[in-house]
């Protein structure tokens, strides 16, 4: 387990936020190219703050699709945030101000970053990601043509690699590894056949291989109740 040293944590947050900022710039540039005014593009980044759905909505509309179809597709992509909220409730905090503010910065990156690191990691990363994403958007819209295709910098590889690095420690548990691999396989198989967003949700079906007993790595005090003798093959 990586130690939660303050300097390391901040450096990691900045690395993640910088990559997200560059993606934000490419979102801004795409929005400008699609003829979306500055206020609308920045408003979207401030109010929606979910990159995948923002890219999707802009490209659907730019391709001549109806705004209603674009919004429905965007919400479908964001449906995964509901289970994220269920899993992160204790990290975000239980008071209403924390819930109301925390809900807005509950995104893939802050969830991946803060799981296992705690509340301070969640708030630090959430706020930093929000700032970098929005500054990036403004730079992208204003820079417009000056922002080259960010794919040339390999930023599209930085995002999945960052997620992987964040998830790695958690994948040492056998059941997490089993569920993760199954989820990835199912999502990949579903990708050619389903609209964007759904393959990731299909990944939830990976839970069928979770096994019956709580993992040996979870709090040791949890003795299995009588009548559930099977502890899973790995323990």
């Amino acid at each position: 387990m990586r130690s939660l040293n303050r300097t390391d944590g901040l450096r990691d947050v900045l690395a993640l936020a910088s990559a997200v900022g560059v993606v934000g710039a490419s979102f801004g540039a795409l929005a400008a190219a699609a003829g979306i005014p500055l206020a609308l593009a920045v408003g979207m980044s401030l109010l929606v703050f979910a990159g995948g759905s923002q890219f999707l909505v802009v490209s659907v509309v730019a391709a001549g699709g109806s705004p209603v179809a674009a919004v429905v597709a965007g919400l479908l992509i964001n449906a995964r945030h509901l289970p994220f909220g269920l899993a992160m409730a204790s990290v975000v905090g239980r008071s209403w101000p924390r819930r109301l503010l925390g809900a807005h910065v509950l995104i893939d990156e802050s969830v991946a970053f803060a799981r296992g690191r705690g509340a301070r990691a969640f708030w630090t990363s959430g706020v930093a990601l929000f700032v970098f994403w929005n500054v990036g958007t403004v730079v992208g819209v204003l820079g417009g043509a000056a922002v080259p295709d960010t794919d040339a910098f390999g930023i599209d590889a930085a995002f999945p690699a960052a997620l992987l690095a964040l998830l790695f420690p958690g994948l040492r548990a056998a059941d997490a590894r089993r569920v993760g691999l199954t989820a990835a396989a199912l999502a990949l198989v579903a990708t050619p056949f389903l609209p964007p967003g759904l393959p990731v949700l299909v990944g939830l079906l990976g839970l069928v291989v979770a096994g019956r007993a709580p993992a040996a790595a979870t709090p040791p005090a949890a003795t299995p109740p009588a009548g559930t003798p099977d502890r899973g093959p790995a323990s």
């Binding site: 965007g74 909220g85 899993a87 999945p160 992987l164 690095a165 393959p199």
Partner: protein, 102 residues
């Protein structure tokens, strides 16, 4: 793109996020279900990273991105610092594209 569309997407997304946080307190869960909830987040995040690493527009994303993520994965496995993982992955993909690999 119009303001009503942006506001609808923003409101819907926010409600999805908030409802997870609020609903969690209405439920009492056994340790087993708690674990399943945590594994569910893992499943979603791994599915997200796999599709982001390998696919684009319903097809294969190309060897440049895949190669970069693979180098990042190797670095993460060797416990290289997070910053270096991110930079290595991006640099590898950028380098491959510079060489003409798509």
């Amino acid at each position: 793109m119009t303001w009503p569309a942006v506001l609808a997407l923003a409101a819907g997304t926010y409600l999805l996020r908030l409802s997870g946080l609020v609903l969690r307190d209405r439920m009492t869960l056994s340790p087993r279900l708690e674990r399943l909830l945590d594994l569910g987040a893992t499943a979603l995040l791994v599915a997200l990273l796999a599709t982001a690493a390998l696919t684009q527009d319903g097809g294969f994303a190309g060897w440049a991105r895949t190669g970069g993520v693979a180098v990042g994965a190797l670095a993460a496995w060797r416990r290289v610092p997070f910053v270096v993982v991110v930079v290595l992955a991006a640099a590898t993909t950028a380098g491959l594209r510079l060489l003409g690999v798509q």
